[in-house]
Symmetry: C2
C-alpha cells in the first residue's frame, strides 16, 4: 500500500506538471503566431483576424509586451465570465450543456464531501482496528485510518455509514432531478427560440422498398403524397457518393502536395523539386514534382466529374433512402413519430439530423442487415471488453510494488529506492492505463459506424456508452480485482459470481490510493495538458510552414478540434463512479475529485469559448445518456456498499440498504418517463405554435426553395454553383396535386409525372439529365 | 423417487377422472334443461332459442332420444370442424389467436418429441451409470434410465445432447417466427377488414391539466382544435361514476331479492314472506319482505337519479380525461402516436380501447401517482412471489414420501402401503399446488387495477405476466429446489447465486416424475374438468329456480364466462417451459405435454365456439407477450442445460452452448423490431387507405352522430332513451371553426362558445342542465 508520503510525492509531481502546462500555455497563447491555434473559434466566426500590429516584424511573431505576461492567469476568469445564454449563442447548446456535467459534479460532491468529512472521517478515525492488525501480514497505510477499513467488524458505527449513504443518494437524486428539468427546458427553449432550420421540416426515410416500375425518387414522392397529402412538400434522394468522396479526398491531398512543392520552388527558385513516383517517394521514376502533381490533380478532376455524371445517370447510385420535407413543422413531427407502413421494416421514418450531422455512408443499410450488425458488434464488444483485461491486469499487478517484491524478491534492490518507489507507485499505473485507452475510442467509433447509425451525434453517443462500459469493466473493476487478485490471491480463488459485490467491496478501500494517483494523473495533469493543445500546435506550424500560401490555406491549416463527446463524457463518468463509490468508504478521495471537476470546468469552458469548433448541434440529445450513467454509478456504489458491509460482519444492514438501489432505479424510471420524451420527441403543440407564428410573420416564404438543397452530400455541395433548380416553387405550395404513377397497370396513361418533374432530385450537376 | 409403477397408477387415475368428466359432460350437455349452460354463446348471438319440442313435459328437461347418446363423442370433431375465418367471425380474433397458442405447442413439440425419442432416448438408455450407483444412497427409478442422469460423467455422448439442443432451438424459433408473422398479418387483416368501430377514430387523452378558467370539456376541445385543426371532430368527457355504479349494483341485487320473494309468494300464496332487516336477516324488525324490498328499490332509484343529476351539474365529477374523436382514422392514428405537449406528463394520448374494454375507474389517475403505484406494486409483487414459497416448499417436501420417511421414521408404517404411497406421490403434490394457485389470479387482477391500467385487456395482460413470473418462481423453481432441498440438503446449503443454473440443472432430472404427475392432474384431468363447467351449471340451476321469471331473467342467469387470458395463458406457458427444459434432459415427459396441448386445443375450441362470451376484442394485442414468454422459456431451458452439463464434468460444452441463449435473445429482439409494431401502432398507410375507401363508399356518413355517444359509462348507457343530442352535426364536419375561449384576459368578449355549446358533454339525462 502506498503511504501518505507516496501520495504526497505523486501529488507534488502532478501539481508541478499541471503548473508547467499552464505556464507554457500562458506564454504560448500570447504569441501572435500561435493565435490561430489558441483562438481558432473566433477566426471561424469571423470575429478575429490575423494580428496586424504595424510595429516591428518580430512583433508579428513574438509578444514583447511584458505587461501581458503579468496577467497570464487571466484566461481563467475570462473563461468563467461569459454568461450561459451568450455561451449557447456562441458555441451551441451541446457545448453549454456539456459543461453542466462538470457543474453537476461540483454540485453533488461539494456538499457530500463536507458531510463525509464532518461525519464519516471522525467515525472512521477514532477506531484502532488497523493498528492492531498492523502486526499481522495485512499491509495498510495511514490513509486507511480515514477509511471504513478502520472500523472494527460488526461495529454499530456502520449505522453512520448507512445513514450517510441515504443522505448521499437523496442529495444526488435531487441534484440530478433539478438538472434534468433544467436541461430539458433549455433544450425546448433552444429548439423553440431557434431560427428556421431544415431539420425542423425534414424527416429521414430509410428502407424504401424496391419497386420494379418506379425509381426511388418517384416512389418516395408518391408514398408521401398519398399518405401525407396535406403536408408533403418535397424530398431529396441520397446518392451513393462513397467513391466520389474518396476521389475528392485524394485530390485534396494531392493539391496539398502541389502547394508544398510550389512553396519549396518559390523559396528556392534555382532548383525545380523532383520526386519519385513509387511508394512513399522512395523509388520509381524521377519526375518533376510540380508537373507530376499538376497532371495528377487534373486527371483526378476529370475522374471526379466523370463519376459525378455516372452517379447522375445511373439510378443504381441512388440509395433507398431519402430526406422528405414537409410544409409545416407539424407535418414533419407527425411523420417522424408515426409508423408509415404495415411492414414495420420498410418506410422507416425518423427526424432528420442536422445536415452537417448526417453520416452519409450509413443511410442505405437495410433493416435485417442492421439487426445482424448489432448482434455482431455486441459480441465483438463483449470480447473486446473482457479480453482486453488480460494485459491490463498484468501491468497493474506490476505497479503494486509490494506485490511485485513478493513475486520477484530479486527485484527488491532495484525498487527499494525511496523516490523511485514513490514514482512507480504514484505515476506508472495511471500512465499504463492511459496508453491502453488512447487507441480505444477510434475502435469504438468504427464499431458504431458498422452498426449503421445515421448521424454523427448518435455515433458518438453509442461510442460513448460503449466506452463507459469498457471503462467500468477494465479501469474500475479491472484495477480493483486484478490488483487485489495479486495481493489476495488465496481469498479470491474459487469464488462464485454473487460474491462479486463482496469481493469488490472488500477491495475498494485497499485501492483508494491507486485511484487517488489515477485522478491526479488523468484528472489534474491530463486536463492541464488538454489546454496546451500540443498536437494541434505542432501540426499547425508544420502546415503553416509548408502548405500555406493564401489566407484560405491558413484557415484550413487550423485544427480547432471539437468537444469529443465519445471520449470526454465517459471519462467524466468515471469520476462520478469513483466519487459515489468512495464517498462512504474512503472520503479522502473526494477533494481530489472536486479539484478535477473544478479544473476541468474552467479548462473546457475556455476551450469551448476559444478553441473547439462544433461539428454538429444535437440540442443536448445526449443528456438522457449522461443522466442514466450517473444514476448507474449511484446504484453500483450502493450495491458495493452492501457487499462491503456484509463482509464487515454487518450483514443485518442489507435489508436497510437494499431499499436504496430499488428507490434509485425507480427514480431513474420516473425521470425517464418525465423528461426523456423532451429529448426524443417533438411535441405537436410546440410545432403548431412555431408554424402559426411563422405563418403570421412571413406569409410568403419560399420554403421549398429553402429546403430543396438542404440535404446534399458534402462532396456535391463543394461545387454547388449553378443553382437553377428553384423554379415554379411558389405555386407548388398551395396547389392540390394528383398523384401520378408509372405502374404497369396504368401504362396506357403515359403522361410524364408533372410533380416528379418539378421535384426531381436536386443534384445540381446532373440537372440536365432527367431520370424519367 | 416415483417408479414407473407409481406413474402408471397416477396416469390410470387421471385418465379415469378425465374420462368420467367427459362422459358426464357428454350426458349433461344433451339434456335440454342444461342447454343454456353448455351453449350460451349461441343464445347470446340469438341463433338458438329454448327447446320447444311439443312432446311430453319431461322431454323439455331430459333427453330421451337414445341415439343422441351414441354419438356423445361427436362434440370433438364438431369443435374442430369450424374453419378459422368463421371462428374469427363467430368469436373474435382474440379467441382464434388464443387457440393458436395450443397449436404452436403441438407444432413445436411433436417434431421435437420424435427427434428426442429417436436420438436422445437411445443415447441415454444404453448407459449403465445408474445401475452402478443404485447401491449408494442416491435414489433412482427406471424413468431415470431414459434421462440424462444415466449418462456417465464426462461422457462424449453429451455432444449428442448439445447438437439436439441446437436443433430444438432452431425449430422452435422457426415455428415462432412463422407464427408471429401469421398472427401479425391476421391482426392487420382483421383491423382492415373490419366494419367501422368507434375506437378507430378515437383517442383517449389523460392527465388533462387543471385550468382555473375553463372546464375540462372546454379545455380538451380548445387544445385539440388548436393542435389538430384539420382533424378534430368531437370529444366526450368522462364522469366519475364510481358511486352511481355502486348504487346501480346494489339496486340490481335488491331487485333480485324482490323477484325471489315474489316467486316464493306466487308458489305459496297462502303466506306473505317475511324477513328481518338486520344483518343477514338474522335479527332486527320483522317486515313484509316484498313490501320492504319494493320500498328499498324505489328509494335507491331516487338516489340514483339524484346522483345522476348531481354528476351532471357538478363540474368536479368530470375527471381530467376524455375521449377525443377525429374526422379520419389518419387523424386519430397521428394523435395516438405523437406527443402533444411540452410536458410529457400531461395531455397523454393513446389509442382508445374498445368501449366495452374501457376500465372506467382508472381514467383519472395522475402521472406521478401512477409511477408511485407501479413502484408499490412492484415491491408488493416481489414479496408475494418470494414469501409465498414458504408454505409451498413445506407441503412439497411432504409429498416426497421417501424424504418423509427419512425425516420421520415413525410414519413408515402408515405410508408404506403400496397403493396409498402411489396415490400420495402421484396425486397430492399437484392438488396442493392447484389449491394454492386458485386464489392468486384475483389478487393479481386487483394489483393490476391498482396500477392504473385503463383497459380490461391491458389489465389482463399485466396480471398474466405477473402470474407467469409467479408460476415460474413458485411452481417451477419452487418445486425443483424445495423438493430437492429435502433430499439433497447437504449439497444445497451454503450455495451462492451463480450456482443456481447448476443447482437447478442437477435437480431437473430428479423432478421429472413430479412434473409428469403435475401435467396429468392439471393438464389432463383439469382440462377435462373445464368442459364440465360444474360451477356455472350449479349456479344456473339455482338462479333458474329462485330468480327467473321472464325470458330476460333467464338470459341474465346464464354465466358463459370468458377465456380468462390472465389465468389461462400463464398456465399454458408452464407447459412450454417444462417441454423445453425436459426435451433434452428427460424426453419421456414430451408425450404427456403433447397430449395436454392436443386435449386443451379441442376442449377450448369447443368452449370458445359454444360457451365463452367475449368480454372485449383487443385484436390479439397479447401476442407479443405470448411470444416473449415462449422465448423466455427457451432461454431458461438453455441456461439450465449449461448448468446441468457443467455439473456432469462436461464444462467444455459451455462455450458451445453459450451461443444458444445469445442467438435466441437476438432472435427475440429481431422479432420485436420486425413484428411488434403491428401490435402497438397503427400504420398511417392503412389508416389512409381505409379513410379513402370509406369516403368513396359513404360520402355522406354522419360520423359525429356515430361517435358522439360511443364512450359512455355503462351505468349511463342503461337509461339511454332520450337521444336528442344529434343536432347540427352535418354542417359541423366541413365548417372551419374559430376557437372560442373563456380565459380571463378576454372576458370582455363574453359571447358564449358556439362550438362548445354544440359539442357539450353528451350525457343523456343531464342534457337539460348545460354547464356553461
Amino acid at each position: 500500500m502506498a503511504t501518505l508520503g507516496d501520495i504526497g510525492v505523486a501529488a507534488a509531481f502532478n501539481i508541478l506538471s499541471a503548473f508547467i502546462f499552464f505556464v507554457a500555455f500562458a506564454i504560448l497563447r500570447l504569441q501572435p503566431f500561435n493565435d490561430r491555434v489558441y483562438f481558432p473559434k473566433w477566426y471561424l466566426k469571423g470575429l478575429r483576424a490575423d494580428p496586424t500590429t504595424p510595429g516591428a516584424f518580430v512583433r508579428k511573431f513574438v509578444n514583447l509586451d511584458y505587461r501581458s505576461y503579468l496577467r497570464f492567469w487571466n484566461w481563467m476568469p475570462d473563461a468563467l465570465r461569459m454568461p450561459e445564454p451568450e455561451l449557447i449563442d456562441h458555441a451551441g447548446l451541446d457545448s453549454a450543456v456539456y459543461l453542466r456535467i462538470y457543474l453537476i459534479g461540483l454540485k453533488i460532491f461539494v456538499p457530500i464531501a463536507f458531510l463525509a468529512w464532518g461525519v464519516l472521517v471522525p467515525v472512521n478515525w477514532t477506531n484502532s482496528t488497523l493498528e492492531g492488525t498492523k502486526l499481522s501480514n495485512v499491509t495498510s497505510s495511514n490513509i486507511d485510518k480515514l477509511s471504513i477499513s478502520n472500523v472494527p467488524l460488526g461495529s454499530q458505527r456502520f449505522w453512520g455509514h448507512i445513514v450517510v449513504a441515504y443522505a448521499f443518494t437523496f442529495w444526488a437524486c435531487f441534484v440530478l432531478l433539478k438538472e434534468y428539468e433544467k436541461v430539458a427546458s433549455m433544450r425546448l427553449q433552444f429548439v423553440a427560440s431557434e431560427r428556421r432550420r431544415p431539420d425542423q421540416f425534414t424527416v429521414l426515410v430509410r428502407n424504401v422498398p424496391p419497386d420494379p416500375d418506379e425509381s426511388v425518387s418517384e416512389l418516395v414522392e408518391h408514398f408521401f403524397l398519398v399518405n401525407h397529402p396535406d403536408h408533403y412538400l418535397t424530398h431529396q434522394v441520397v446518392y451513393n457518393a462513397n467513391k466520389i468522396a474518396k476521389l475528392v479526398k485524394k485530390k485534396k491531398s494531392l493539391q496539398n502536395w502541389l502547394v508544398f512543392y510550389k512553396n519549396k520552388y518559390s523559396r528556392n527558385s534555382s532548383k525545380r523539386p523532383f520526386m519519385k513516383t513509387g511508394f512513399l517517394g522512395l523509388w520509381g521514376d524521377k519526375v518533376d514534382a510540380i508537373d507530376h502533381h499538376e497532371s495528377e490533380v487534373k486527371k483526378l478532376s476529370e475522374e471526379i466529374s466523370a463519376e459525378r455524371e455516372r452517379i447522375g445517370n445511373n439510378s443504381k447510385s441512388i440509395v433507398p433512402a431519402g430526406f422528405v420535407s414537409f410544409k409545416t413543422r407539424w407535418g414533419a413531427a407527425v411523420c417522424a413519430q408515426t409508423q408509415q407502413c404495415r411492414n414495420p421494416t420498410i418506410w422507416l421514418t425518423e427526424w432528420a439530423p442536422e445536415p452537417r450531422d448526417v453520416y452519409w455512408e450509413n443511410l442505405a443499410i437495410p433493416y435485417v442487415s442492421l439487426t445482424v450488425r448489432r448482434l455482431i458488434m455486441g459480441v465483438a464488444f463483449f470480447f473486446l471488453t473482457f479480453f482486453f483485461m488480460i494485459p491490463i491486469a498484468f501491468v497493474q499487478s506490476l505497479a503494486s510494488i509490494d506485490g511485485l517484491e513478493k513475486a520477484a524478491p530479486f527485484l527488491k534492490k532495484v525498487v527499494e529506492g525511496g523516490f523511485f518507489k514513490s514514482f512507480v507507485q504514484g505515476f506508472l499505473p495511471g500512465i499504463v492505463l492511459k496508453i491502453f485507452l488512447i487507441f480505444l475510442p477510434t475502435i469504438l467509433m468504427i464499431m458504431a459506424k458498422f452498426e449503421g447509425f445515421t448521424s454523427l451525434s448518435s455515433l458518438e453517443r453509442r461510442a460513448a456508452s460503449r466506452y463507459y462500459i469498457f471503462n467500468f469493466v477494465n479501469v474500475f473493476l479491472g484495477s480493483i480485482i486484478a490488483g487485489s487478485a495479486f495481493e489476495q490471491l488465496d481469498s479470491f480463488m474459487n469464488q462464485s459470481a454473487n460474491e462479486i459485490p463482496k469481493t469488490i467491496g472488500v477491495a475498494i478501500p485497499i485501492k483508494a490510493t491507486f485511484f487517488i494517483t489515477y485522478i491526479m494523473v488523468d484528472g489534474w495533469a491530463g486536463i492541464a495538458g488538454e489546454i496546451l493543445m500540443l498536437k494541434p500546435l505542432i501540426i499547425y506550424h508544420l502546415k503553416n510552414f509548408f502548405l500555406v500560401k493564401t489566407e484560405k490555406d491558413r484557415e484550413e491549416a487550423m485544427d480547432p478540434g471539437s468537444l469529443g463527446f465519445n471520449t470526454g463524457e465517459p471519462r467524466i463518468q468515471l469520476y462520478f463512479l469513483l466519487g459515489f463509490v468512495y464517498a462512504t468508504v474512503t472520503p479522502i478521495i473526494l477533494p481530489f475529485i472536486i479539484i478535477f471537476f473544478g479544473l476541468a470546468y474552467v479548462v473546457f469552458r475556455h476551450q469551448i469559448i476559444n478553441v473547439y469548433n462544433q461539428e454538429y448541434e444535437s440540442a443536448a440529445a445526449f443528456w438522457p445518456d449522461v443522466h442514466g450513467r450517473i444514476v448507474t454509478a449511484l446504484v453500483i456504489s450502493q450495491v458495493l456498499l452492501i457487499g462491503l458491509l456484509s463482509t464487515k460482519s454487518f450483514a443485518q444492514s442489507t435489508p436497510f440498504l437494499i431499499a436504496l438501489p430499488v428507490l434509485t432505479i425507480w427514480f431513474y424510471l420516473f425521470c425517464k418517463g418525465r423528461y426523456e420524451p423532451a429529448f426524443v420527441k417533438y411535441p405537436l403543440q410546440e410545432a403548431m405554435m412555431k408554424d402559426t407564428l411563422e405563418r403570421a410573420r412571413e406569409p410568403n416564404i419560399n420554403l421549398k426553395g429553402y429546403l430543396q438543397s438542404a440535404y446534399i452530400h458534402p462532396v456535391f455541395k463543394a461545387s454547388e454553383d449553378n443553382e437553377d433548380e428553384e423554379e415554379n416553387d411558389e405555386k407548388w405550395e398551395n396547389e392540390s396535386v394528383i398523384v401520378p404513377t408509372k405502374r404497369q397497370s396504368r401504362r396506357s396513361t403515359p403522361a410524364p409525372s408533372r410533380v416528379s418533374g418539378a421535384s426531381s432530385p436536386s443534384l445540381p450537376d446532373v440537372q440536365e439529365h432527367p431520370q424519367s
